[in-house]
């Protein structure tokens, strides 16, 4: 187990700082990537307030809330994983990362069940969209956002789970130590970020106008 310092860096410290900055820079691009969709959503929600509320009531709050809980738990286990990495407990790291990935998969499972429900209810926008409330057009607009945004989020989850798998493997191979664990930390940052996206998606999509 040695410290890997790439030739362009002076020392390990500098490499560490550079990679952390780089990761946050990347996350800033992700903020704006999702931001574009959030903006579209906000504009249309302002314009078509009522139909959005009604469409939102067709989503399942219980499943959504459970899923949020699942993700928050996975964030905890991720943070604990990094903590164990700092302390150099190889087995605990593997355990926590594996749990994190498993929670991620539970999330995706629930998500796909929801998609399936929507499919059964003919709520997929397009020629087969069926809506018996008022204002089918704007409702279908809501569902476009629902699918595109959660779909894009799910894609990020899939990538995150892949990363966890790789990290578990590398930990198992003994690549990390209490000094060198940067990849785990970066993986953690990515995971938490994806979690944050969902933290916003949940109230915006599921809780639009529940009080009516």
């Amino acid at each position: 187990m040695s410290l890997i310092v790439e030739h362009q860096f002076d020392d390990y410290e500098q490499q560490q700082q550079a990679t952390t900055l780089g990761m946050w820079g990347f996350l800033a691009t992700e903020v704006l990537f999702f931001g574009g969709m959030f903006l579209g959503y906000t504009v249309y929600r302002l314009l078509y307030h009522a139909p959005f509320g009604e469409a939102s009531r067709h989503l399942d709050v219980v499943l959504g809330a459970v899923n949020t809980g699942v993700l928050l738990c996975s964030s905890l286990t991720m943070a604990l994983g990094v903590h164990e990495a700092q302390e150099g407990n190889r087995r605990m790291v593997m355990l926590f990362l594996a749990i994190t990935a498993a929670l991620g998969m539970i999330f995706l499972g629930i998500k796909f069940f929801e998609y399936y429900q929507k499919f059964e209810e003919h709520l997929i926008p397009g020629p087969h969209f069926m809506w018996n409330g008022a204002d089918a057009r704007h409702a279908s607009l809501f569902f476009i956002f629902y699918f595109v945004m959660t779909g894009m989020h799910a894609l990020h989850m899939v990538i995150g789970i892949g990363l966890m798998a790789i990290l578990v493997f590398l930990t198992w191979r003994g690549k990390f130590s209490s000094v060198y664990f940067a990849p785990i930390e970066l993986g953690g940052l990515y995971w938490h970020f994806v979690d944050i996206v969902w933290v916003f998606l949940f109230p915006l999509l599921y809780l639009v106008e529940r009080s009516r």
């Binding site: 314009l47 078509y48 307030h49 009522a50 139909p51 204002d135 057009r137």
Partner: protein, 330 residues
């Protein structure tokens, strides 16, 4: 003017053109001054201080004073230009009272226009000299842009939305009409003529025409599409009376209000369930796919005419120069 041959400055044929050209020439002058200044300085320095073996460059001094000068002077200048431009722009955004109403629909790749008395034109538009003309434009497919260089005005025609612009011609003649927003294959063929005529000639041209006005056409359509069946018969209790509503704010079922304007009427016809008037059942069927954009304009004109106090002066549009996105405002 069409067919006039080579020139370096466009004809000036509207009130706005005169005002705009003054601003433009000012800008040309100012740019000429600055560009000239920079270029002359650069050339002079390059010649005087060209590299010579017997001369070393001098030490660069800094000067906060100079920096401030060339920050503040341009700043003041551009703010002046901004105000001048903004003034003209706001003028241009607000059609004057009593302007001649013309409806324009863009579609790939032609312009259809209709005058207030119903006379239609394709790729041509007759306008009076000396009177303001207000164009309300929309599009049936993609975005187009209604552009009359001689008048220096332009407005995009956006599908699903109504946009207005206005001008007042000052010189009789034939001018170019262009589509200025790229709209597909024959974008460059989506052109036509604006024919500005003296008011009397214009009235003759218009008056010699007997086809129905948009209001009349709209009235017929109102019957033809069976709107009247609900909105004008004894069933009035079940359906709102459309008289006197234009320009007012109507209450919606489930709270909220909406301004009864062109966009709202359009939405009520195409998508009646989007906004339900308070106290009524959502039984009105949609007419999406049945009403063309031109028929829509006629229906709107008719429904506007049911609110005589507003429609007669046709100022409502004036107050709201660019109708909102359909469904805007809750």
């Amino acid at each position: 003017m069409i067919g006039e041959g080579f020139r370096l400055f466009p004809v000036q044929a509207s009130t706005f053109a005169e005002k705009l050209d003054r601003l433009y020439l000012f800008l040309v002058g100012m740019s000429g001054f600055f560009a000239g200044l920079i270029i002359i300085l650069v050339i002079t320095f390059a010649v005087i201080y060209r590299r010579r073996a017997d001369r070393a460059p001098e030490k660069t001094r800094t000067s906060l004073g100079l920096e401030l000068i060339w920050t503040v002077i341009p700043l003041i200048l551009v703010m002046f230009i901004f105000l001048w431009g903004a003034d003209l722009f706001l003028d241009q955004s607000i059609p004057p009272q009593g302007a001649e109403d013309v409806y324009v629909v863009g579609k790939q790749w032609m312009w259809k226009a209709q005058h207030s008395n119903g006379r239609r034109e394709i790729n041509e538009l007759h306008v009076p000299v000396g009177r303001a003309v207000k164009i309300t434009a929309t599009s049936q497919d993609v975005i187009h842009s209604f552009y009359i260089p001689a008048f220096r005005v332009k407005q995009d025609a956006v599908p699903g939305q109504y946009r207005t612009m206005w001008f007042q011609a000052t010189k009789a003649g034939e001018y170019h009409l262009f589509c200025a927003e790229y709209c597909g294959t024959d974008h460059s063929k989506m052109i036509g003529r604006i024919i500005a005529m003296q008011d009397t000639a214009y009235q003759n041209w218009l008056g010699g025409y007997t086809e129905e006005t948009p209001v009349q056409a709209g009235e017929k359509l109102f019957v033809q599409f069976d709107c009247a069946n609900c909105h004008e018969s004894g069933r009035r209790q079940r359906c709102p009376n459309l008289g006197g509503l234009y320009g007012t704010t109507v209450a919606l079922a489930g709270g909220g209000t909406a301004l009864f304007d062109e966009a709202y009427i359009r939405e009520s016809i195409l998508d009646p369930k989007a906004k339900i008037a308070a106290g009524y059942e959502p039984v009105m069927p949609t007419f999406r796919g049945q009403v063309t954009e031109e028929q829509m304009l006629a229906l709107i004109a008719y429904i506007k005419s049911l609110s005589p106090n507003v429609a007669a002066t046709s100022t409502e549009g004036a107050r709201r120069p660019q109708s909102s996105v359909p469904g805007k405002k809750e």
